[in-house]
Symmetry: C2
Subunit: 432 residues, 2 copies
Amino acid sequence: MAAPLKIAIAGLGTVGAGVLKLLAANQALISARCGREIKVTAVSARDKGKDRGVSLDGLRWFDKAVDLAKEADADVIVELIGGSDGDAKAVVEAALARKRHVVTANKALLAHHGVALAKTAEAAGVSLAFEAAVAGGIPIVKALREGLAGNAISRITGILNGTCNYILSTMRATGRDFADVLKEAQDLGYAEADPSFDIDGVDAAHKLALLTSVAFGTPVDIETVHVEGIRHVSSIDIKYADEFGYRIKLLGVAERLANGAIMQRVYPCLITPASPLAAVEGVFNAVLAEGDFVGRSMYEGRGAGAGPTASAVVSDLMDIAGGRRVPTFGIPAASLRTLPAAPLDQHVGEYYVRLLVADRPGVFADVAGAFRDEAVSMESVLQRGRNADAKVNVVIITHEAPEPAVLRALKRLQANAALQEPPHMMRIENQK
Amino acid sequence: MAAPLKIAIAGLGTVGAGVLKLLAANQALISARCGREIKVTAVSARDKGKDRGVSLDGLRWFDKAVDLAKEADADVIVELIGGSDGDAKAVVEAALARKRHVVTANKALLAHHGVALAKTAEAAGVSLAFEAAVAGGIPIVKALREGLAGNAISRITGILNGTCNYILSTMRATGRDFADVLKEAQDLGYAEADPSFDIDGVDAAHKLALLTSVAFGTPVDIETVHVEGIRHVSSIDIKYADEFGYRIKLLGVAERLANGAIMQRVYPCLITPASPLAAVEGVFNAVLAEGDFVGRSMYEGRGAGAGPTASAVVSDLMDIAGGRRVPTFGIPAASLRTLPAAPLDQHVGEYYVRLLVADRPGVFADVAGAFRDEAVSMESVLQRGRNADAKVNVVIITHEAPEPAVLRALKRLQANAALQEPPHMMRIENQK
């Protein structure tokens, strides 16, 4: 059997401790599958004394992560600190400077500095692997980079943030409001104390930008991702979506348009229950990939948590142990080719619009007229009941229409005195 | 850029022609991702003149596949002939004898001779890769062998035969009978003229046996797979299953029992709509894998056809082109370790039983008594309406019970004069 693969881990939070546990629990199986042992030699974290439920005996301790990256006796540095800059970036740069392989779960770091780091890694002849950064335990990076590598990919659609999916699933199941369910998710540990990265769509955008790069061979481009979060999704929208036969999900979509441009978007949207993504509930993630030969394929699993993320980290380590190498983004970083970025105003699709209007004669004609004047045709309209205060919700599903036309129609409506609040709009994604 | 990877293809049916088309269509993309070209140098098939919609110009033609394996100027021999023995086996053996890599879509060959061939390949230092043999375009072999490699797998559950899934989905959607839908599937090209390999579960068993080996590190063991096909599934069973809230699917299940034994079974069974497999319809395949750290993950896609199968073949070729090697079954074939095989009489689960009985007093008490006498408790019972000829269906869902107890209860009932035909029984698989 070959010499052990020596690894040093920077960051012993939930995921770091999970990696130690996995490597200990499945040591024999991992050695059999790799043909060599994977051996942790050093670790670093903020608090040496903290009980992590796992022994650190025999491991060299570093108070400073950067010192670990610079000095640890290791073939691979595992970066599990997080954050797009600061210590995490310094650790990865120091490791690559020493020509050490790097395995990371850090989507923010790679979304912002991935191409530069990949170039450094490739120049050094080492791997920079990030399976754990996207969709937790689902081996989606491997699937795209290797399993579907013979295909030209046309579209990637993902439920990429378990916190948002948990909140939206629970809102639908219980009819409760966003704020209430968010609070519960925080109490359960499914959402951070500061949840903005998750609920504002930033985390999903980071992950989407990485998948886009792998799928389309483009440099990671987080700047052109259109991002909307789920704060504005109300239980009433979920209820109306249900009545029209849709679910509301936060999706990340990366698509190559007919004009060759790439559109990246993250937003809450309506999807049909016929979509395989519709049944993905709670903290699960899923990614739907469409390729020219394979057709549609879908990958589903737990998107976060110690076990699934550790599974992905160890998968990368086992590839390195087995001498299997793929460029970070599927093709050498220097060969990634920029394609035009399509802004959302090139989007054509169906739209859900909810308007709270004064319940008086002529309002409905105004609404219909605003859409007609922008050549947006309506597929369904729902107006039911009446509020005690004479306000009613009018809900419209449009036929396919260009985004700018829909936005102009909404602007016309906003000028109408009958409107009691700004229009609520969500896109409909019809991936079958 | 490195020298091209030269390949020779034995067998130019749907899949072989699909591989040629894919390599031609996506040549630039494949070269960019591999760092080298994948170049077809030779082909072989029965009929040189046949129009396959793809040019064979510049390719050396072999009338005999074995000659191609022995003589073609190629680094990789791609075997797409099919069948567990005969030409396919001779081709693979000849290629390995020359120390050429082999890529195959042949589940029957590997289910029967996989371990011996893998040992030969590993001794020769070449790859024997078979992503295309299981679940078409879904990179499930890669997912198990690499993506989830850090996990101890406890269970694999798959919809592994698109023909059966198409037939069962269509029977449910239309209420039509098995024979009628099979005929249609044959007319549409979804089922072979001789459909027995598919509908009797043999094809699914081959695929399951391969996944079992990869998941559990055991030698491929097709002999101990319990196999039942779908010929006996009637539209009335599908209707009753629906009423109880279940779908009927042909599943392959490989499971490590608490006693350490491996149980492999292929049969039509009832699954709850809450299972992610329930929504997998038509010719799609899906595999659910459960690992100790990753938890549940699912992989879904087209299970057959030129495009998806070619996608899988080319994925294997690209791994070889990139110098990425994994033993055929995840660990070296010589290290595969036999575990006890659990027969189906160790199965404990819920059962669906339908009895066509004479509609007269006391029959129901007899039915209930037979189950009670074997300590099988009933969860639900349905008896509704009456046939014109005074025969009625009694449908029972049991609580969890050992298979032998259920079989004994059915045997008791079979002796009862009120029974108009042998009992209909299917297992319920409760994978959530």
